[in-house]
C-alpha cells in the first residue's frame, strides 16, 4: 500500500490501529509501524496529524526495544542452559536436537 495516496486522517488511523494491535503480544506490528511510518513522522514536512503519528511511532519503538531485550535474554538463557535443565528443558522444547545433550 502506498502511503502517498492516502489522506492524512487515514494515515493516522492506520498508525493507531497498528499501535494498538501490537499490545496483543505482537511486537512485529510495532516493528512495521516504526519502519513504515518513520518517513511520515520525521522526514516529511509538518502537517496536522504528524505530531500524533510521531508519538505513536515513538511508543511503538519503545515497545519494540522492550520486546527485543526480553526475547534476547530469554533465548540466550534457554540456549545456554537447556541441556542442564534435563527434563524441564525437554518439556519446554518444541524440537529437540538429535545426538547432542
Amino acid at each position: 500500500m502506498n502511503l502517498e495516496r492516502l489522506p492524512n486522517e487515514e494515515k493516522l488511523c492506520l498508525c493507531r490501529k497498528y499501535y494498538l494491535a501490537g499490545f496483543a503480544l505482537l511486537p512485529f506490528l510495532w516493528l512495521v509501524n516504526v519502519v513504515w511510518f518513520f518517513r511520515e513522522a520525521f522526514v516529511k514536512p509538518a502537517y496536522t496529524e504528524q505530531s500524533q503519528i510521531k508519538t505513536y511511532v515513538k511508543r511503538s519503538g519503545m515497545g519494540l526495544l522492550f520486546w527485543v531485550a526480553v526475547l534476547t535474554t530469554w533465548i540466550t538463557i534457554f540456549q545456554h542452559f537447556r541441556a542442564e535443565w534435563g527434563a524441564m528443558g525437554d518439556y519446554l522444547s518444541f524440537t529437540i536436537p538429535l545426538g547432542i545433550p
Binding site: G86, A87, D90, Y91, F94, T95, I96, L98, G99, I100, P101
Partner: protein, 718 residues
C-alpha cells in the same frame, strides 16, 4: 547511414527467411547428437569413492551411562593417516600440520592404550577405521570388561561383600573394556580387501610426509557418518521418545530385547500361568547371545554357540528315553537371550515366574543345571561351578552335592572328567545368578575353565569358527562340510551326553537307562556348521517353515540381541531346532497344523503343545518338498527387561540397556584442497558477484546514453 540496413531488412518479406534458419538449427542439433552421443556423467561419482562395507560401533545407553561412538551431524571429515606404530600417534595428536586426522589402525594397534590416547586427543581426531584381519590374531583381544555383569548378578554388597565386584576372582582378566567406553568420534571396521588397499594407496600417494616435510595439498580425506540420536542415558532417551510435539515424531532409542526359547519334557499348560501343583522341574539353561565392539557382528562361538548347541544335543539325546521311561520331575530347557546386557532374558523369566506370568513358578523349580562356555576344553576336565553362599545352608548344600554326584555318575565311561573348583570360589557370570537372586535354589554351572575364562576373545569379533577349531579338510563341497564330523564336534558331543545323562538322573530317572542316552555327533556337527559357518544349509532348510527361508543366509548368524523390534537370528532357529529335536511328527493336515489343532474340533491341544508345519526334505525323485507337522513344547517367551514394563528407567535391579537409533551409516573418500584455495575460490566468487552488481547498476543508470543509437521512429522516410 546506419538506418539503411535496418530499413532494408524491415522491408523485405519475412516469412521465407524465417523457415531456413530454424531448419538449419534442427539439422545441426541432430548431427551433434549422433556424433557426441547421449552421455550422462555424475560429478558426485568423479569426486567421492563410497565405502562398500560399513560396520561401525553404535551408541548404547543404560541407566547411568552412554557407551559407544558418535559422529557429528554432517559426518566427521579428517585427513587420512595410516598409523604405523604407537609412537606414530604423536603425528596425529600433536605434530601433524593438518588436523583433524582420520586414523586407520591395523588390528595389532587396536589396543586400549592407543584408543585411550586417541580419545584424550579427540579435538584432533576425526575418527578411526580399524582394518579387521582375515584370520584371528595371535594374542588376546576381548573388548568386554574384566568383570562381566558385575552389578546385575547375585554377588552384591548385601549378598556377600567379599565376592562382590570380582574381588575374589577376576573372570575376564584379558578384557580391555573398550566396548564400554564412550568415544565422541566414529569408529568403523574395514575388511582387509581391495577397497582397503585403495585407501592405503591413497594415503601413500598423497598424505605421506617425506622426511619431515609437510605433505602438500591435495590430501586424501575420509568422511564417516554415523549420527546417533540418543544421548545421556536411558531415562533421557525414553522421555524424548514420549515427548512428541512435532509433525513427524521421531523415536530416539529402543530397548534391547528379543525372546527366550523354552521347552519341557512333559507338556505344561501354558495358558494356566502361575504355580502348578505337584510339578517339580529341573531347569537346564543356556545362553543364546553375544556381542562385539562393532554393531551387528557377534559370532559368539565360545561364549554362546558352544553352550546352546550342547544343550540342544542333550535335549535330542533325551527325547526317546523321556517318552519310554519318563522320570519323576519335568526337565525345563531354557535358552536365554540378552544375557550379555545384564541378564535381560533370565531376569525377565524370573520376574514372570514371581508374578505368575509364566507356566511355572519359582516354587516349582527343584534345581538348575546351566551349560556355560564348554567349547575350549584343552584336557578332559569340565568344571562344575557352584555358589558357596547358598551352600552354607545345609539342605541346599545337600542338593548341590547330589547334583554333583549325578554329574560324576553320568560321566562314567565318557572322556569327560567333572571337577569341582575351590569351594570358596563364586559363580562365574551366568543366568543361574538371577535365579539365586530370587531364592536359594541348588544349581551347578558347567564351564571349561577352572577360575578365569580360558577364552582369549570373550565377546569379540574373533570368537568365531576358527577359534573353536571348527575346520574342514579342503576341497569339500558345502554339503560334505555339513556332514563332516570335526574334532570339536566330537568333544562337544561328549559334553552333551554328560549333560543329558546328568539331567535324566537329576530328574529322578533310573540309573540303568543311562547307557541308552547318547548325544549324536552327526547332529552336533550339523548344528555347529549351521551356527558357525552358514545358516543356509540343507539340514536347516528341512526344519523350518517355508516363509522363514529368506532369513537363512550364507554366513554365520549374528548373535547380537538387538533392539526389541529387530528379531535376533538365533532365537527362531533354536526354536525350530528344539521343536524338531524334541518334538514328534504328527499326522495332521497343514491347515489344522497352522491353526494349532489336531482336528477341526480340537480346542485343548493349543494350551499344551505348539504345532509347526515345516517344509521337510526334497525326496529323491521329485522337486517338491514334503512338509509335515511337528508337535512340540518349544515356545518363545518375551525377553525384555522388566524395567521397561515397570517404566523404571533408572532401575538398579534390572537391565536398562537401550540402543540408539541412527540415520543410515556411510563413509566415503575424496581429495581435499587446502584451506587457502577454498578461501581464494570463495573470494573470487564474491568478487565476481559484486562486480556484476556494480556493472549492472552503472549500465542501468546510463542506459539512455548507451542504448540511444537504435531508437528511430520506423515511419521515417528519406
Amino acid at each position: 547511414m546506419s538506418t539503411l540496413p535496418v530499413v532494408f531488412s524491415l522491408s523485405a518479406p519475412r516469412t521465407r527467411k524465417m523457415d531456413l534458419p530454424s531448419n538449419k538449427w534442427i539439422v545441426h542439433l541432430l548431427v551433434c547428437c549422433f556424433v557426441v552421443g547421449v552421455n550422462c556423467n555424475s560429478v558426485d561419482k568423479k569426486i567421492y569413492v563410497k565405502l562398500n562395507y560399513t560396520v561401525s560401533c553404535v551408541r548404547l545407553l543404560n541407566a547411568t551411562h552412554q557407551i559407544g561412538c558418535q559422529s557429528s551431524l554432517s559426518g566427521n571429515v579428517g585427513v587420512l593417516h595410516v598409523l604405523e606404530s604407537e609412537d606414530n600417534l604423536d603425528w596425529v595428536l600433536s605434530s601433524g600440520p593438518n588436523p583433524p586426522y582420520m586414523v586407520i589402525l591395523e588390528s595389532p594397534l587396536f589396543t586400549r592404550s592407543v584408543m585411550m590416547k586417541l580419545k584424550s586427543g579427540s579435538s584432533r581426531v576425526a575418527g578411526v577405521a580399524v582394518v579387521a584381519p582375515n584370520t584371528n590374531p595371535a594374542g588376546a583381544f576381548s573388548p568386554h570388561t574384566t568383570c562381566p555383569n558385575e552389578n546385575s548378578g547375585v554377588y552384591s554388597e548385601t549378598y556377600d561383600p567379599a565376592m562382590a565386584n570380582c574381588n575374589k576372582t577376576v573372570w575376564n582378566p584379558l578384557g580391555n573394556g573398550l566396548s564400554y567406553e564412550e568415544f565422541d568420534f566414529p569408529i568403523f571396521s574395514l575388511k582387509d580387501d581391495n577397497d582397503t588397499q585403495v585407501i592405503r594407496q591413497c594415503y601413500l600417494d598423497h598424505n605421506r610426509a617425506v622426511n619431515g616435510s609437510r605433505p602438500r595439498y591435495p590430501l586424501c580425506a575420509m568422511q564417516l557418518y554415523s549420527l546417533m540420536f540418543a544421548v545421556t542415558d536411558t531415562a533421557t532417551c525414553m522421555r524424548r521418545n514420549d515427548i512428541n510435539l512435532s509433525i513427524n515424531p521421531e523415536m530416539v532409542c529402543d530397548p534391547l530385547g528379543d525372546y527366550n526359547v523354552w521347552a519341557s519334557t512333559r507338556p505344561l499348560n501354558n495358558t494356566a500361568k502361575g504355580h502348578k501343583m505337584w510339578e517339580s522341574a529341573v531347569v537346564a539353561a543356556a545362553r543364546l547371545d553375544s556381542r562385539s565392539f562393532f554393531f551387528d557382528i557377534a559370532p559368539g562361538a565360545q561364549s554362546g554357540v558352544s553352550g546352546f548347541v550342547a544343550l540342544l544335543a542333550a535335549a535330542h539325546a533325551l527325547r526317546d528315553v523321556v517318552q519310554e521311561a519318563p522320570p519323576n520331575r519335568t526337565i525345563l530347557y531354557t535358552f536365554f537371550q540378552g544375557e550379555t546386557f545384564d541378564y535381560i532374558g533370565s531376569s525377565r523369566m524370573v520376574y514372570d515366574m514371581e508374578n505368575n506370568q509364566f507356566a511355572v513358578d519359582l516354587d516349582n523349580i527343584h534345581s538348575v543345571l546351566e551349560v556355560g562356555q564348554v567349547g575350549l576344553r584343552n584336557d578332559s576336565k569340565l568344571w562344575l561351578h557352584t555358589d558357596p553362599v547358598s551352600r552354607r545352608n545345609d539342605s541346599v548344600n545337600k542338593e548341590v552335592e547330589d547334583l554333583i554326584a549325578n554329574l560324576r555318575l553320568a560321566a562314567t565311561n565318557l572322556s569327560v572328567t567333572p571337577e569341582v573348583p575351590t569351594a570358596s570360589q563364586p559363580l562365574p557370570p551366568s543366568s543361574f545368578q538371577r535365579f539365586l537372586r530370587a531364592r536359594p535354589i541348588p544349581g551347578v554351572v558347567l564351564e571349561d575353565h577352572q577360575s578365569a575364562f580360558t577364552s582369549r576373545f570373550y565377546e569379540s569379533m574373533y570368537d568365531n569358527a576358527e577359534y573353536l577349531n571348527v575346520s574342514y579338510p579342503p576341497n569339500l563341497t558345502p554339503e560334505e562340510q555339513l556332514r563332516f564330523v570335526t574334532e570339536s564336534a566330537k568333544a562337544l558331543t561328549e559334553v552333551a551326553t554328560l549333560v543329558a545323562r546328568a539331567l535324566y538322573r537329576q530328574a529322578g530317572g533310573a540309573e540303568t537307562q543311562l547307557v541308552n542316552i547318547n548325544a549324536d555327533s552327526q547332529t552336533v556337527t550339523q548344528m555347529l556348521y549351521g551356527f558357525l559357518v552358514r545358516t543356509n544349509n540343507s539340514w536347516f532348510q528341512q526344519l523350518i517353515p517355508s516363509d522363514f527361508m529368506s532369513h537363512l543366509t550364507n554366513r554365520p548368524p549374528n548373535l547380537y540381541v538387538g533392539a526389541v523390534q529387530q528379531s535376533s537370528e538365533p532365537t527362531v532357529l533354536v526354536q525350530f531346532l528344539m521343536a524338531n529335536l524334541t518334538g514328534s511328527t504328527v499326522n495332521v493336515t497343514q491347515e489344522n497344523c497352522q491353526n494349532q489343532r489336531e482336528d477341526e474340533n480340537d480346542k485343548e491341544s493349543r494350551h499344551m503343545y505348539i504345532y509347526m508345519w515345516v517344509q521337510g526334505a526334497v525326496p529323491p525323485n521329485s522337486t517338491q518338498r514334503q512338509g509335515f507337522c511337528v508337535r512340540s513344547t518349544a515356545r518363545l517367551s518375551k525377553a525384555v527387561s522388566p524395567a521397561f514394563d515397570l517404566r523404571e528407567f533408572t532401575s538398579k535391579d534390572y537391565s536398562t540397556w537401550t540402543e540408539s537409533r541412527w540415520k543410515p551409516i556411510s563413509g566415503r573418500i575424496f581429495l581435499v584442497a587446502s584451506h587457502e584455495l577454498e578461501m581464494l575460490t570463495l573470494g573470487v566468487g564474491v568478487g565476481v558477484l559484486l562486480t556484476s552488481l556494480l556493472l549492472t547498476y552503472v549500465i542501468s543508470a546510463k542506459a539512455d546514453i548507451l542504448f540511444s543509437s537504435g531508437r528511430e521512429p520506423t515511419n521515417a522516410t528519406y
